[in-house]
Symmetry: C2
Subunit: 497 residues, 2 copies
């Protein structure tokens, strides 16, 4: 048995209702993004706010807090039990700090904001979203003050999404990778090693044919459709409703098929994580990923390290051509180049592996400012284009392809973006290790035989759930904490050799 | 303002979280029946059980119970406020009586049972569902004992679904209608007034064309797709997730298009009720129908009184033929006869208006026995065929077309079926009144102009929500309580004149 300590069992019994509420919230969120009728949003946002406040109340019940406090100093616990106590204790610390009115207001504001963000993006009208972003910035700042921080209010925002992450360490990370990325990028561009565009970007596809491609690719990767679904939403996501119900979404723009295909593979990586968590964690607080950064490492590992590799594009070529008639006009090598164009561009989710983290750096810089002083939504919108030009050398012509492109801020997620860069760095660290541990890694990809890869990820990462905090998990599984060197190694191996 | 009394406002504030939980449960139920991946059921059933127990706990909080008790004897309340207190007080009485373990067990058992019922039905294997039905019967009997009753344990089951309903009054109802239905049925059959089958029953349709028909018919009836959805489920249903999010489902068997069409119209009737509840009841306990019987009167009114009338079948003929090519081989009169065949048959949901209530009588008889003595699932399965033969003169060859045909028992709903007959009787009572109040009722149907009809139903029934208990609502709106005479009048007018 994983959970043996009687006090931990008691704690799990008492907090199972929180799991149930989280389960319900997940279904509600999924529904809001996929099937909810347009006018359902008013009730939905009020319900989500009530449920958020209820969760806070139930988490902060005296008997729960006392049990967690007692267990925090208990040395008899095994690692799983310690994980449960750590995760709950972290939530209690944050939720105790936040006034219930603020929690409800945040839940309500973000539920309301999402459809306005969507409308603003569709209509290219920043002012539709602006008052909500103002409110979200204000609430986030307030939350940081309530939660507290060592050096900078942004520390509180970062730690909320990635346990232990600080503004200073994100700066260190970017200070290491930014100049190296620029050097690599310059070489690629000046030597024309990879194309910057590809004519397949303009080729239209039939949506129902593309649906089949996505489903078949998911099947080949090992996505179990009796434990998940593939739906359509404006902003693709993965949601773990239960350990046997992990759903993903994609979107179909009607042309440039790599967007939906690689979006789907990306979400598969997230889903596989949740699907391979140890089943005995069911209904406990550690039945989730170690952190957002580690979660993103899984999606990026499948999307980029596997999905954009030559053995993979070669291997799925027949599958692509069986559904998409235009594929036959291109060679497998064309497909590889098409999914690996390198070019400083406007849209984060379409950015190549080389420039992607510069998009995160932009958001990081803006978020730091949002969390300090009197920086408002309007300032963010104006700074966006300037920073974009400085970092990537391109300037958006519309809000939709600029400051409005991402859903995150509309969901109140300030401090979330840096976890994407952590994900990229960790995915390369895993690549460094898996090549050593599975010497025929590339051959397996070329055979679309992923069982060993899935098992490797399960043993090293997935099965542990949130037993360990992210840095500890990395040390335990790979012998060292996050090391950005491997990401630069990976880019050099792939793009310069 | 509808709610003015400060104590009622306080009560509504305190119980808003129950509304939020109900909202969440509704989405979860909808999801379970429509999109949930197969293996998600284990977690879902545990979550539903936790949420049921949590609702009970929050409803029975001392401060809530005390407020409701105080307000129950308060004469200063307006009708809406009285309604709130009545509905909550009823729930408190029932939930106080039921041990939390029983509530959780019922929630868990029924969530688990549903997929097994479905499997049993598909595979025609009663034994797959049998242990669950045994458990559900046992739990229902226990619940009746805890809740208490005047004369018969079935009274408790009936009252749970239809406030004030008793075994004795259901018997009176059937004693009145059964012989009269038989007399009418005999005349129809012996004089061949309506056909007993129609060749359209065997005609296949294209599912996507039929989807368009259903959607267009819903649009004509006035279903607002920005406040609802049409999905597919094994057993069609309507679910009010919020006053602006009322979803319906249908199913496509691939032939005999009246099944899906009239199923859809039926669910529209349910949906319109919830969609026309007074918006100021939002998030309160009276933002729901007065009772299941009154709810069913709305679905049957649209399905039968309007939908199966000659003016309606005539009016939708062009719409049908624009999507279904085979329609052109038939006349509007053919369509009318096809949707009005009369024949003692096996399946309740396909039964005609004349024989339908005999299907309910069968279930009523069996349910009475389930609630008394040591009647088990196996006994129900055996008695089904005997009773079917006696009541309708037909005998099922399989469990699937017999005892396994309905979802209700798998959901723990014993005592629910009689509300269908109440619905039929009330729909005819409304018909009697609407003909007087809107003299050109049939002309409006023939013009597919339903605004006045929707407004009539809104003013007489819908807008009141659960302000009044069912019998009181009928008296208030139509000057008398439920009167089964109008149903017999309706059948005679339609089938014998």
């Amino acid at each position: 048995m994983v959970f043996e300590h009687p006090k931990v069992k008691e704690l799990l019994d008492k907090t199972r209702v929180l799991w149930a509420l989280h389960h319900a919230e997940s279904v509600l969120s999924w529904d809001s993004e996929t099937y909810m009728p347009r006018k359902g949003v008013a009730d939905r946002s009020l319900a989500m706010a009530e449920l958020a406040a209820l969760q806070q109340k139930l988490l902060l019940r005296d008997d729960v807090v006392k049990l967690v406090d007692d267990l925090s100093n208990n040395n008899d616990l095994n690692d799983y039990e310690k994980g449960v106590v750590r995760v709950l204790s972290r939530s209690i610390r944050i939720m105790k700090a936040l006034p219930p009115e603020l929690v409800m207001e945040m839940a309500k504001t973000t539920e309301e904001a999402r459809p306005y963000w969507r409308e603003a993006k569709v209509k290219n009208k920043f002012e539709v979203f602006e008052p909500y972003l103002d409110k979200i910035i204000e609430l986030s700042r307030k939350a940081a003050e309530y939660i507290g921080y060592d050096e900078h209010p942004y520390d509180a925002a970062l730690d909320y999404y990635e346990e232990g992450l600080r503004k200073r360490s994100v700066e260190d990370m970017f200070n290491y990778i930014e100049p190296r990325i620029r050097r690599i990028l310059d070489k690629i561009l000046s030597n024309g090693l990879y194309p910057s565009t590809h004519e397949l970007e303009d080729v239209k596809y039939d949506v129902s044919a593309m649906e089949k491609v996505n489903k078949e690719v998911l099947q080949r990767l090992g996505y179990p459709f009796d434990r998940g679904r593939l739906d359509v939403s404006a902003h693709p996501f993965t949601i773990g409703i239960g350990l046997d119900d992990v759903r993903i979404t994609t979107r179909y723009e009607g042309k440039d098929f790599k967007r939906t295909l690689y979006g789907t593979i990306h979400e598969f990586g997230h889903a596989l994580y949740d699907l391979q968590i140890d089943k005995s964690f069911r209904m406990t607080p550690i039945a989730r990923g170690a952190s957002l950064g580690i979660h993103e490492s899984q999606s990026r590992f499948w999307e980029n390290i596997i999905g954009r590799s030559k053995p993979f594009t070669e291997a799925i070529y027949p599958l692509l051509s069986s559904h998409l008639s235009f594929i036959s006009r291109y060679s497998p090598e064309d497909i590889y180049m098409y999914v690996n164009t390198v070019k400083p561009s406007l849209i984060r989710v379409e950015a190549d592996e080389v420039t992607y983290n510069l998009h995160i750096l932009l958001r990081f810089k803006l978020e730091v400012r949002m969390m300090e002083g009197d920086y408002r939504a309007r300032d963010v919108a104006e700074a966006w284009n300037e920073e974009m030009e400085e970092l990537l050398g391109v300037r958006p012509k519309t809000y939709s392809e600029g400051v409005l492109q991402d859903i995150h801020w509309s969901m109140g997620s300030i401090g979330y973006f840096p976890t994407y860069t952590i994900g990229n760095l960790v995915s390369a660290q895993i690549y460094h290790n898996i090549k050593k541990d599975i010497p025929n890694f590339h051959d397996l990809i070329n055979e679309l035989d992923f069982e060993e890869v899935r098992n490797y990820l399960r043993e090293k990462i997935h099965k542990w759930g949130a037993t360990y905090p992210p840095e500890e998990l990395l040390k335990k599984s790979f012998g060292e904490p996050l090391n950005p060197k491997y990401f630069i190694d990976y880019l050099e191996e792939k793009y310069l050799s």
